[in-house]
Symmetry: C2
Subunit: 270 residues, 2 copies
DNA sequence: GACACGAGTCCCATATCCTGAGAAGCTTTA
DNA sequence: TAAAGCTTCTCAGGATATGGGACTCGTGTC
């Protein structure tokens, strides 16, 4: 996950180093001192020091009372701006809330980026085992319901590009391990209209997802419902899928992708 | 607001430039092309190009289908990690929801940074004029109820440091304009136990705030209720303040700052 | 109380890394 | 078809970041 090797034709050493510092602080559970940063990244301490001072001036990092460094709130600001430009999140939230109220399980909103899905939002039911997912984090497409939901409805060409980039990492014994298996799964997903992750990412966790389609009928995001396998049973899937379909329909309307008047010829109606 | 002059003893030109690019994209309503970035920042186009490519590799910016640049989702990830370390936000949320249900006005959760308050979270009532505040944004302390709430309960020494750094920018004719006036206002705030922003930041907007105190009885954050002056009337202030006090009390308990058993000798009881 | 040690801060000469001129693609407009 | 505008790419020179090292401060050890 940590891409220490900043390959790529264009290079600005100082930037790579600065982001390495931010990465390090992001991964770390606790704030880090100058010496720790310097040695972890193999930077001379005076180099590390200068970077940290500059980052601090930009409020990208801040110091705890004990003088150690952690991520700064400026990043929080940037992050919110970044997501705002999508504005999908704001509009989707009420629909997600309703979905959670109906299903009493956790709902996620995700978008695709490269060959990973990023969690844009998460709503948890009042009483539930807290899920470990974190808004802002990302997971591989091949082992998540949201990933498969988006992938399945992407135009063949783009889907292939994504699949090409997947490293088929295994998480459980059910994780899809080959491009071939993934393709059959995609076919299945298209047929039934929703994607399922049956303990493929985490033992005991079952998820079901449906894509959000834009005006051009391209998937721009996906919504999922996740819960422990004993609650999210095979029998319940169609009913949950139904709630999901209503939910994404509402989101699409709110985003102005489809008019609310007539039922759209939805992907899942095919 | 835009600090084009990157003064400070430590300097890494490349970093200042990179952050200037991010700033620019953050401020911009629409994605920008390479040429626009280059001319706005007075960078040579090939320099701007290199920066954007590197930033893209780090997913700090991304390209729209038309090839223009906007902030990338990596920032969203970093941003979430940044506030996660506070974890105040997660814990405070249920209490804020209750507060909003009780008052039917918008609630904000803020922390102090330098001489500005940063909006960590915002909850809006079901039906209300949408407030223009944005989570992640910051405002000066001297003209916000949250700023004054925190400031008033800070140890004298630290409060002075903050006040020293304030540039007393005016927003309305009621904005506090001098350090002296601010100090009297602080005194008043301490006496009554809550801070008020009476159209000092925006005409027609009245806010009331109370600090969240940690185990050492230091203010770490503040919660506010904001609404149009005709609804948030002078008569209602004490009642709203009461809800606020209950709210921050709940937050303090959840954070483990105070035990829920006995009533704490609260700052406002003095 | 003296000493050693580690962590952070600061300065400066040097080599490295970034810069920006410019040329060459590519796309849009006239 | 030409021209203008935007983006991509290359390269040599010199501004700029680098890291050695000195200095300070705080903490633990004897």
């Amino acid at each position: 996950m940590r891409d220490a090797a900043p390959q790529g034709t264009y290079k600005v050493q100082a930037l790579d180093r600065a982001f390495a510092v931010l990465d390090l602080l992001a991964e770390s559970e606790t704030p880090l001192g100058l010496a720790q940063v310097a040695s972890s990244l193999q930077l001379h301490k005076s180099t590390a020091h200068r970077f940290l001072m500059v980052l601090e001036r930009h409020r990208m990092v801040e110091r705890t009372t004990s003088g150690k460094f952690r991520l700064g709130l400026r990043l929080f600001d940037f992050g919110n701006r970044a997501i705002e430009q999508y504005d999908l999140r704001d509009r989707a939230q009420p629909h997600l809330r309703r979905l959670v109220a109906e299903t009493e399980e956790t709902a996620h909103l995700c978008v695709l980026e490269a060959s990973r899905v990023i969690y844009i939002d998460k709503i948890e039911p009042a009483r539930s085992v807290r899920m470990i997912t974190r808004v802002g984090a990302s997971n591989p497409v091949h082992c998540t319901s949201v990933g498969k939901a988006i992938l399945a409805f992407l135009p063949e060409e783009r889907a292939n590009e994504v699949v090409k980039r997947i490293r088929f990492e295994r998480f459980t014994h059910r994780t899809i391990a080959t491009a071939e298996a993934l393709r059959t799964e995609m076919e299945k997903t298209r047929r039934r209209g929703y994607a399922v992750d049956d303990e493929e990412f985490e033992e005991g966790l079952r998820c079901i997802a449906v894509p959000v389609l834009d005006a051009q009928r391209q998937p721009v995001a996906a919504v999922s419902v996740s819960g422990p396998s004993f609650r999210v049973t095979a029998q319940k899937l169609p009913s949950i899928a139904n709630h999901l379909l209503q939910c994404v329909r509402g989101i699409s309307v709110d985003m102005g992708y489809i008019s609310s008047g007539r039922a759209p010829r939805a992907a899942w109606s095919a």
